[in-house]
């Protein structure tokens, strides 16, 4: 294997560290020199130390398989991704702009629906939306903010530009891995940090705490904040426990909470019931409150919606936020930004074809082999068709699905995701990446410096989801050169 930059073969996609001529990009020069300087054996030793540290820290995620649930160690690639702080400054603004517009949209949709009346957003999209909650109509949460925590997936296309792939507004996960990745890098490659000015990421949990604390119905006191988890069998349990620990919050399960006749939420504590002010819920709407949503849910808390509607408990993200976490609604975000903020979108969307419109549907059906087709409301990379890698049979199947329920499908051109050198069996080789920054909004707006870079570890693969063989990298927002 080779870890020398000279032996690295840049593909046709944009590479984050190596320019098309094979030379490191200006900010990557120091890193490449450092890696070459370590030498192969030393690098492999460090990688082994990283793996051991991951095992010891128990940084895991759960994969659901037919044979049962497996707790897997988090796959981490030691070569970081570097982004210039000057470039990031614009992305940062774009992320905040987008979340502001999305929250204005959700407020509007559950109240006056001006955007529909003004003909900017079609009513039929709403009517068929799985995540539009009638129960939320007429509600205006504090600050008019519904989605307090947003994970925005970005990809860099071969033109070198960042595009927004999707907005995760329900229960986006992954931020704990972003934080752990940085800790691992600092522990195992401390020298390289001396060569760069890297923006820190570890203020995220303090920002998250402040974002949540601002939602407390009893301002002034130190709020009681609880992270509501479905429990230890959830794939993101590690993260729930991590965030609770980092914020000094309580990690609770549905059965630990109760809503009394005063419509306040209490935790069952050893010295009696203790009022809960803010819930950071990591449970989907459907399971949140068996009184309001699925009656068979045993993960949630009966009466939680009552308490929230009365303003007796803050909840992030607010129930109903998922209405904007819909791949068809996504296509309208640039229009929303224009409509609500009077601004042009700073971060472009990926070109999208909505199958609900006959003309666009015909185009999609005629070009299935070139497009990526996505269902409106799935996450984790499930239920997608990746045209160029699909069989005729699969395309046939999707054509039937689309015709049966056009509103539920949208398609995008197959993007060429950017690559970065990744340590593989054969040495450093290009692998495709995306990037999920996390954006917070309540009385403030905040975006992480960088985010979670996910990498498709299989050669040529575009699927970065950890449930499907993805790994991750530390992401550096670097100021100036060296």
């Amino acid at each position: 294997m080779s870890i020398a930059c000279e032996d690295y073969k840049v593909g046709s996609a944009f590479d984050e560290l190596i320019a098309p001529d094979g030379q490191p990009r200006p900010l990557a020069r120091g890193l490449c020199d450092y890696i070459s300087g370590l030498g192969e054996n030393e690098l492999l030793d460090r990688v082994a130390a990283v793996d051991a540290a991951i095992m010891t820290s128990g940084i895991t995620f759960t994969v659901y398989t037919e044979a049962g649930n497996i707790d897997r160690a988090w796959p981490f690639d030691v070569v970081p991704r570097i982004i210039d702080a000057r470039e990031w400054e614009r992305v940062d603004r774009g992320l905040k702009q987008r979340l502001r517009a999305l929250n204005l949209f959700i407020s509007d949709i559950y109240n006056e629906q001006r955007i529909v009346k003004d003909g900017v957003f079609p009513l039929e999209v709403l009517q068929d939306s799985k995540n539009f909650r009638l129960q939320c109509q007429g509600i205006m949460p504090r600050f008019g903010v519904w989605a307090h925590i947003c994970g925005t997936d970005l990809v860099r296309h071969s033109d070198g530009e960042f595009y927004v792939l999707e907005d995760n507004l329900r229960v986006p996960s992954g931020v704990s891995y972003m934080l752990e990745n940085r800790e691992l890098m600092k522990r195992l490659f401390p020298e390289v940090f001396g060569r760069y000015r890297i923006q820190p990421v570890d203020n995220y949990t303090a920002q998250l705490y402040d974002t949540l604390a601002a939602l407390s119905p009893r301002p002034g006191e130190r709020p009681v904040i609880a992270v509501l988890t479905p429990g230890i069998f959830n794939s993101a349990y590690f993260e729930h426990s991590y965030l609770a620990q980092q914020m000094g919050a309580e990690l609770v399960e549905g059965a630990d909470l109760v809503v009394l006749e005063d419509d306040c939420v209490y935790m069952k504590a050893i010295d009696g019931l203790q009022r809960v002010d803010v819930i950071y819920r990591r449970i989907d709407d459907d399971f949140l409150d068996p009184e309001t949503f699925r009656p068979d849910s045993c993960l949630g808390v009966p009466g939680l919606m009552r308490a929230w509607k009365k303003g007796n408990v803050g909840m992030a993200n607010a129930p109903g936020s998922g209405v904007a976490d819909d791949k068809v609604v996504y296509a309208f975000v640039p229009k929303m930004i224009k409509y609500y903020l009077g601004e042009e979108a700073i971060l472009p969307n990926v070109e999208s074809y909505l199958c609900m419109y006959p003309k666009e549907r015909d185009y999609v059906l005629a070009n299935l082999d070139k497009l990526v087709v996505k269902p409106a409301n799935e996450s984790g990379g499930y239920g997608m068709l990746i045209g160029p890698q699909s069989s005729a049979e699969e395309r046939e199947q999707f054509a039937t699905l689309i015709k049966a329920n056009p509103r539920n499908y949208m398609a995008q051109p197959t993007l060429s995701l950017s690559t970065a050198p990744t340590l593989c069996d054969e040495g450093l080789a290009p692998r495709h990446l995306d990037l999920r920054p996390f954006v917070l909004q309540s009385d403030r707006l905040y975006a992480t410096a960088g985010g979670l870079t996910r990498v498709a570890l299989r050669k040529g693969s575009l699927v970065v989801n950890s449930s499907q063989g993805g790994g991750s990298k530390d992401t550096w927002i670097v100021e100036g050169s060296q």
Partner: protein, 325 residues
């Protein structure tokens, strides 16, 4: 603190403590067998009784020989009290309340688990066994040290103390009990040099030998050892010490009257014990009473803190408010 978390903290330390105590016991026994005269046979059966696992052992094994008993006590996942099972349970519990512990705790608990998982499978000869169990004890002790040095003396810490002391008192009483019923190394001493040996070994099984020698006597007589393990207040594994710790915790806990009553009545039983008399007769019956006392403390804890049945009205839930149970 959540009732669920309190219960898991309590059990997490009980499991940890049990794993450590079992490891210490096995190591003491291993050394003990080396002292035995060649013709003597060791009472492996008695060892199973100490840990209360004789019944479940014989469900799986026809005969109690060294290899089978060691495997069962150390590795067997069918044994709910084997060292490996206890460590795995402790780890799973810790995963569910990482937020109440100091940052590195989970990592250290996990590291102990990974160590046990790597080292325990497979047949261990006596030397390896000793080394690996020492490794487990040392790792468990560093977790204790970490918690003691970096954890606030909050509610969570108090539940750790409760679990640790109840489990210890339980182990001490069991070891004393079996010593009476079947004499731990079940062999006939061949001469005067073995007089002290039985009681010395009991002290060693509880890692109490050194402190006993220092503060009581160089000779290990039955009266003195029984008196020490029941009543000494300074050594942290005696029943008196453990109960005092439990009482101390409960005094600072909210509405702990029920639990305190159980603790106090167990302490009264303990105080009434006359070790000179117990050395000749009645030790087994006495230990039974202590065991019943420990069980009642455990039940009182469960009722008061872990099973959250009563839904009190909010006004009575103000911190410190005194509500009837």
């Amino acid at each position: 603190m959540l009732s669920r978390v309190a219960e898991r903290l309590y059990w997490m330390t009980r499991y940890m403590e049990r794993a450590e105590n079992t490891a210490r016991l096995i190591n003491a026994v291993t050394l003990m067998t080396l002292d035995m005269p060649g013709e003597a046979t060791f009472g492996w059966h008695a060892l199973l009784k100490v840990v209360g696992m004789d019944q479940s052992f014989f469900e799986h094994h026809p005969e109690a020989n060294e290899a089978a008993v060691m495997q069962f006590l150390i590795q067997d996942e069918r044994n709910p009290s084997s060292i490996m099972t206890c460590i795995a349970h402790a780890r799973e519990n810790t995963r569910t309340f990482r937020e109440v512990l100091p940052w590195e705790s989970w990592e250290w608990v996990n590291e102990l688990y990974l160590y046990a998982k790597k080292e325990l499978p497979g047949e261990l000869d006596r030397r390896q066994r000793f080394e690996v169990l020492q490794g487990i004890i040392r790792r468990r002790q560093s977790i204790v040290g970490l918690l003691s040095g970096t954890m606030s003396r909050d509610g969570a810490f108090q539940f750790l103390r409760l679990g640790r002391n109840i489990e210890r008192a339980d182990m001490t009483s069991r070891i004393l009990d079996v010593s009476y019923a079947s004499t731990l190394p079940a062999y006939t001493p061949a001469g005067a040099q073995y007089d002290d040996l039985l009681w010395m070994n009991i002290l060693k099984a509880l890692s109490a030998y050194q402190m006993y020698r220092r503060y009581v006597s160089v000779h290990a007589s039955s009266t003195q050892v029984i008196g020490f393990l029941l009543h000494d207040r300074r050594f942290p594994r005696t029943i008196a010490h453990c109960l005092a710790e439990v009482a101390d915790v409960c005094q600072a806990m909210p509405q702990a009257n029920g639990v305190l009553n159980s603790v106090r009545s167990t302490q009264t039983i303990l105080d009434s014990a006359d070790s000179t008399q117990l050395a000749t007769s009645g030790l087994h019956e006495f230990i039974d009473q202590i065991q019943i006392g420990l069980t009642s403390i455990d039940a009182a804890l469960r009722e008061r803190y872990f099973s959250f049945q009563e839904i009190c009205i909010p006004t009575s839930c103000v911190e410190g408010a005194d509500s009837a149970e």
